[in-house]
Symmetry: C2
Subunit: 336 residues, 2 copies
DNA sequence: CTGAAAGCGCTTACAG
DNA sequence: CTGAAAGCGCTTACAG
């Protein structure tokens, strides 16, 4: 019952290991009869090639490492979960495997990444990070890497980019807020993020100024979102509509609004970003910017494959977003 | 700059590969001076042992595969995220690695599990599943396996169990509902789950009957929770308190309550289970049963290690739960 | 179409 | 304390 190796397996069929190998992989000429016999016997005798031997001889692991640098509790945000899901599906379809890096401390996460790359546990890395940090890339081993972020990065020949174009979705949020008569509008989220700039510009185009006192920095954990919302909403001239950089932050805003007895969308309009699974099921359902996770994953894997076959200087791929309107945006008249 | 192998590395130090290997792993006698020189040179020359060669020669991958069978979108529930997190931390501390199975279709998930085990990509499996399904275990290769569930399973010598004792936490929920004067009480969740039986018994002990019409079957996605809640809450004699089998279901109840204009906890009390990250940040914050994820992870890894060193027939480890009271449970008088 | 043999990069008895 | 050599289980030129 113990695991059988290719030698024993070949012997019991009375053929060579070379033929077994070729039959399994369909490479090189093998007679149809032999191939069939091998394939059938694999099930019967219970032979599966040892992965590590294959990886060693091929000089490839067939694995790609996925990480979300500069994030604390990675999976606490369903955004990451959605992306991880999409990535594993796509990788599997391409005969590749996923190694997910869930380390919490930034340092542990980075160490694991290095360990993976240096020991050749993975062939490539995928980094999901708002603004691709050149210094992180410089610290990491120069393995094929694709960065999923909001801007392209051109410094390194071994890295390709998938650029999540925030513009379209966020513009729609700004437009919709303004169309509903809001003029005191807020933003909660990472303030270094390009999303803030896009939001501010979109508002300006519609004649509205995003005031500094209505911008609150926050990580993407609901607790931080809630605290930031408290600050914004307790001002004399509080915003009547807030754009949350992530849906998780929006959850925090719901919490704060409830504590302050503000109804959504009656007293306060809210829009989120990411369209996580939960967004359709908040009370009321959250209007948010949708991301096509599948599309990101498939482009990412395509880039990895090209990077692995020695292509360099790949053009960034752009993915755009769009707003899904649900029930958290109301008119300002009610609020005022 | 290319990856250097142990032979070249040893040569450039003028020593043998055997000595390098021993210096790195601290096994066998090596002079302190040599060891130090090797360790220092690893950084300088950039040598890291090839993982696949190590795995091949050791006959161990050092990896454990984690899966959540009988679940659809695994990470859509933060419960799984929390557990996956805790597992990777714990494995890392024990020089082991994590392979996370995120396949959606049950069949794909099972296939990946088999592939991992048969190809020796993983040394052991961890299955998180309510009621350990003997048939699944029978279908899977007989590698060391630990099942995290609600009941022990004794059928197989290669599987050990971590039993999540639902009793304590759920009893507290029942007691608290009753203490608040509720008598029409509901349950939403998996109806095959032992949680339902525990809840029913606890209620009975307090003199309350859990009526069949107040029990609604539901998966742990908020959408299902919401639909189930709609059914329960639109009855003539609707429940005034509902226990949700998972926090995600509780999210769905929030959604339904909002649609029906029922205030929580004014008109409806709710308790969840799992204490996911988000539970403290719902509006209002959710009372829910807390699980010690770290403890589960550390016991699981301990069991794996024993299983790997050829121990069999290990006693199940029990982990108990407790209720965290937040703001979703009110008295029935208000509701009535 | 098939087989014998070399080699992937390590570790670990076995000698010394 | 250290080295030469065998071997882990595959794949892939190289012959035939």
């Amino acid at each position: 019952m113990a695991n059988m190796n290719i030698k024993d397996f070949a012997e019991s069929l009375g053929i060579s290991t070379a033929t077994v190998s070729r039959a399994i992989h369909g490479s090189g000429r093998v007679s149809a009869a032999t191939r069939e016999r091998v394939l059938k016997s694999m099930d019967e005798l219970g032979f599966t090639p040892n992965l590590h031997a294959q990886q060693l001889v091929r000089g490839r692991s067939g694995m790609v490492g996925l990480a979300f640098p500069e994030q604390g509790k990675v999976l606490a945000d369903l955004f990451f979960a959605a992306l991880a899901h999409a990535m594993q599906q796509e990788l599997q379809d391409n005969n590749l495997g996923l190694m997910l890096n869930l380390m919490e401390r930034e340092e542990s996460q980075e160490n694991l990444l290095k360990q993976w790359a240096c020991s050749q546990a993975v062939d490539a890395l995928v980094l999901v990070t708002g603004t691709p940090s050149a210094s992180l890339l410089a610290r990491l081993p120069q393995v094929p890497t694709v960065v999923i972020g909001h801007a392209a990065c051109h410094q390194f020949p071994h890295v390709a980019c998938v650029v999540l174009d925030l513009e379209q979705g966020i513009r729609s949020v700004a437009r919709l807020f303004v169309e509903h008569g809001h003029s005191s509008i807020g933003y909660i989220g990472n303030t270094d993020d390009s999303a803030l700039a896009v939001f501010r510009t979109s508002l300006a185009d519609a004649g509205i100024t995003l005031k500094a006192c209505n911008v609150a920095a926050s990580g993407s954990h609901p607790s931080e979102g809630s605290m930031a919302a408290m600050r914004l909403l307790q001002q004399a001239n509080r915003p009547t509509a807030i754009f949350a950089r992530t849906d998780m932050i929006a959850m925090g805003i719901f919490h704060a609004a409830s504590a302050l007895n503000l109804a959504i969308p009656g007293d306060l309009s809210v829009a989120g970003h990411d369209d996580i699974d939960l967004a359709s099921w908040t009370a009321p359902p959250l209007s948010t910017v949708q991301i096509n996770y599948k599309s990101i994953a498939s482009h990412t894997v395509a880039l990895i494959k090209r990077l692995l076959s020695d292509h360099h200087q790949l053009e960034p791929v752009h993915i755009s977003t769009s707003l899904v309107v649900r029930e958290t945006i109301g008119s300002s008249s009610t609020a005022a």
